[in-house]
């Protein structure tokens, strides 16, 4: 069975444009706090979410916007939530890290690794209440060293749960290179728990789609959980204004901000001998440089472009699709930004069990 390339590309493009709009609103100061975009992981999300049906559940991380959009959550409500409006998906209480849609059985968390226990519970409820449905969780490779996620892998196996663990691996846990902090390989770990595990290129949506199809079918038929290790990129790093990306994009400004205090520390009296200090300095520069050399930091790995290349043989159809999605997104943003009565009367949450 072949995937519908056009539908996959449409979902990915829609998500990308939505998140680009979020980025602009964040830059403009209309969105507060941290902003973790999922730009670069759309192929993984699309390749998995396209297989989900009503009754399936999703345990999402702090990068859940894309999955909710593709799952069919109202984009205007979603954008309004990210804007912190009372007419947002969660009445402005959650924000982008804490998005909830009970209708889609979708719950997010900003606590890394918490998707593990969450998918176990969702899968347990799926098996008992909605036979034939399953639960999926998306998490970054940084989460794979969090105890609760490892405990959840085991629980999913021993309870033979209809669960699908999807690891989106961009190789970086904020400023740390993940392999330097992770023993063994992820698929070996998952197999060690007795779970089938596959490692794939997560920037190729069709590969993700095919592998996910098998995993989802196995879960629906009572065949137990699957682990997917999908490699990807984060085009905007860990979050907007990622310190490592900032150092690459605005080297003069950022490096002087980093360099001046560094040099001052280097020459402070009392402390380690100079040889040790220089080795310390070397390791800091090494981190900055390895970020620069890392191909995953560059946009050639953009999954959206890879999906698009397969469609260029039909330029008219492609153009029509892109025009259509762009127009839809413009309308979503315009509508989301319209003032409503509710904007003026944000209900206080006190006494509502919040």
């Amino acid at each position: 069975m072949q995937p519908d390339r056009w539908a996959l590309y449409r979902h990915m493009l829609r998500s990308r444009l939505f998140e680009r709009a979020v980025q602009q609103l964040w830059d403009a100061g209309d969105v507060s706090g941290e902003m973790h975009l999922g730009t670069g992981e759309e192929a993984i999300i699309a390749g998995v979410v396209r297989h989900l049906i009503d009754g399936d559940a999703m345990a999402l991380d702090h990068r859940g916007t894309s999955a909710l959009l593709m799952r069919g959550v109202d984009p205007v409500a979603l954008l309004r939530e990210i804007l912190g409006r009372p007419d947002g998906l969660c009445r402005g209480m959650g924000g982008h890290m804490h998005l909830f849609s009970p209708d889609h059985l979708a719950a997010s968390s900003g606590i890394v690794g918490s998707g593990g226990p969450a998918v176990v519970g969702f899968a347990l409820a799926a098996r008992r209440l909605r036979p034939g449905t399953l639960a999926v969780t998306f998490f970054g490779e940084g989460a794979i060293n969090q105890g609760m996620l490892l405990e959840a892998l085991n629980l999913a196996v021993v309870w033979e749960l209809p669960a699908f663990f999807v690891c989106k691996d961009n190789g970086w846990a904020i400023t740390s290179k993940s392999p330097s902090l992770t023993g063994g390989t992820l698929v070996e770990r998952a197999r060690g728990f007795g779970m089938p595990a596959v490692e794939i290129d997560g920037t190729d949506v069709e590969t993700v789609w095919s592998v996910a199809r098998e995993a989802v079918a196995r879960a629906r038929e009572g065949g137990g959980p699957t682990f997917l290790h999908a490699r990807c990129v984060h085009l905007e790093g860990h979050f907007l204004d990622d310190p490592l990306l900032a150092a690459l994009r605005r080297p003069l400004r950022e490096l002087s901000e980093i360099g001046v205090p560094l040099t001052r520390s280097l020459i402070q009296p009392r402390g380690a001998p100079i040889r040790k200090r220089l080795r310390g300095l070397q390791s800091i520069l090494g981190t900055l440089l390895s970020s620069y050399r890392d191909a995953s930091r560059h946009s050639e790995q953009d999954p959206l472009m890879r999906a698009r290349e397969r469609l260029t043989a039909e330029p008219d159809r492609l153009e029509a699709l892109e025009r259509d999605v762009t127009a839809e997104l413009e309308e979503i943003v315009e509508t989301a930004l319209l003032p409503t009565e509710a904007t003026e009367s944000h209900p206080r949450m006190a006494g509502e069990g919040a």
Partner: protein, 337 residues
């Protein structure tokens, strides 16, 4: 006197302590880069970057401390302590008691806390009351650069576990990283005298458990910690214009509370207003009332705290966290009673 930012004061005091005591090490997520200025001075082998495995590296910090090191374990946000609570609740806090006083845990847990920049209810909690509830844990919350450095020095010299909480509104690098404060399009209500201020020319510890009066007042004693101290000071100036003389006491240490200074101040004013960014129920604000009652000091009492889950929406968030307006209103009501 020198002038320093809150964040630089912590690092400077730490560098001072680490240069003198090779047992001090720092571990936590991203610390090789976050603490790069210390790495450049002290060498990289005393800075251990960790995976996102709080229960393992905080639990490990406890026994590393028992076995002779003086670890400063960084938990990026105190909200994340939930993942590793067992290490504090059942181990760090218990070893001294269980060993009949024979074994100490000289551990420092350094974490950011607090809100006011729109990150939502899973990243902006204070939780000092929650932690202080556990016997065996010392909890400190500095509100100025001088105290930030002095309390860090006291924490690393302390022979028992200390939770050191660094408010993100006072600590510019964190506010930049988590609040995107680099954007010209956003601004935050940062208390300027907390974010930058005078520090001593050479560091000496600010003793644990010692409060300080930030403002004298005859009618009312406002007691707070962290950013709440600055909000209270601003409220006290406004109250003065309305004819109310309010003193502001900065506890600096949540546990143990400086009871002597508290009793002295409340005995004079007979009115206590607790301003606490932590949750209202079962916490610091109630503890202050209980202490004053137990001491038999007749006093009127009110509190301004965080009552619910902290909202993501900026306006709701500002209403949820203690703000100057709420403090002024509560103080005036208390005075009218």
């Amino acid at each position: 006197m020198r002038t320093m930012t809150f964040a630089d004061a912590i690092d400077d005091a730490l560098a001072h302590a680490m240069a003198a005591d090779p047992r001090i090490i720092i571990l936590g997520e991203d610390v090789p880069l976050l603490r790069r200025n210390l790495v450049a001075r002290l060498g990289k082998d005393r800075f251990l970057g960790t995976p996102i495995s709080e229960s393992a590296f905080l639990g490990g910090g406890v026994t590393a401390a028992m076995a002779g090191l003086r670890p400063v374990v960084e938990i990026m946000l105190i909200d994340f302590i939930g993942v590793a609570a067992d290490a504090l609740l059942n181990h760090a806090a218990k070893v001294n008691a269980f060993s009949g006083g024979a074994w100490n845990v000289p551990l420092v847990v350094r974490a950011t806390c607090g809100g006011g920049y729109g990150d939502g209810g899973q990243h902006e909690q204070s939780l000092w009351g929650w932690l202080a509830h556990i016997p065996g844990l010392t909890v400190v919350v500095p509100s100025t650069p001088a105290d930030a450095g002095g309390l860090m020095l006291a924490a690393v010299e302390h022979d028992h576990p200390v939770i050191y909480l660094e408010h993100k509104l006072l600590s510019a690098p964190w506010l930049e990283m988590l609040g995107g404060a680099d954007r010209e399009s956003v601004s935050f209500d940062v208390p300027s005298s907390g974010a930058r201020g005078p520090v001593p020319d050479s560091w000496s510890p600010v003793p644990v458990g010692r409060a300080i009066s930030r403002r004298e007042g005859d009618d009312l004693t406002i007691v707070s910690v962290g950013v709440g101290v600055h909000r209270s000071l601003e409220a006290a100036s406004q109250l003065e214009e309305k004819g109310i003389s309010a003193g502001v006491l900065d506890l600096r240490t949540v546990s143990p509370i400086d009871e002597e200074v508290l009793y002295e101040a409340v005995s004079r004013t007979h009115a206590l207003l607790a301003v606490d960014e932590d949750y209202q129920g079962f916490g610091l604000s109630g503890e202050l009332a209980a202490l004053v009652l137990e001491a038999g000091i007749p006093a009127r009492y009110a509190r301004v705290c965080t009552e619910t889950t902290i909202a993501y929406a900026r306006r709701l968030e500002d209403e949820t966290l203690p703000n100057v307006e709420r403090i002024v209103t509560a103080a005036r009501q208390l005075m009218e009673e």
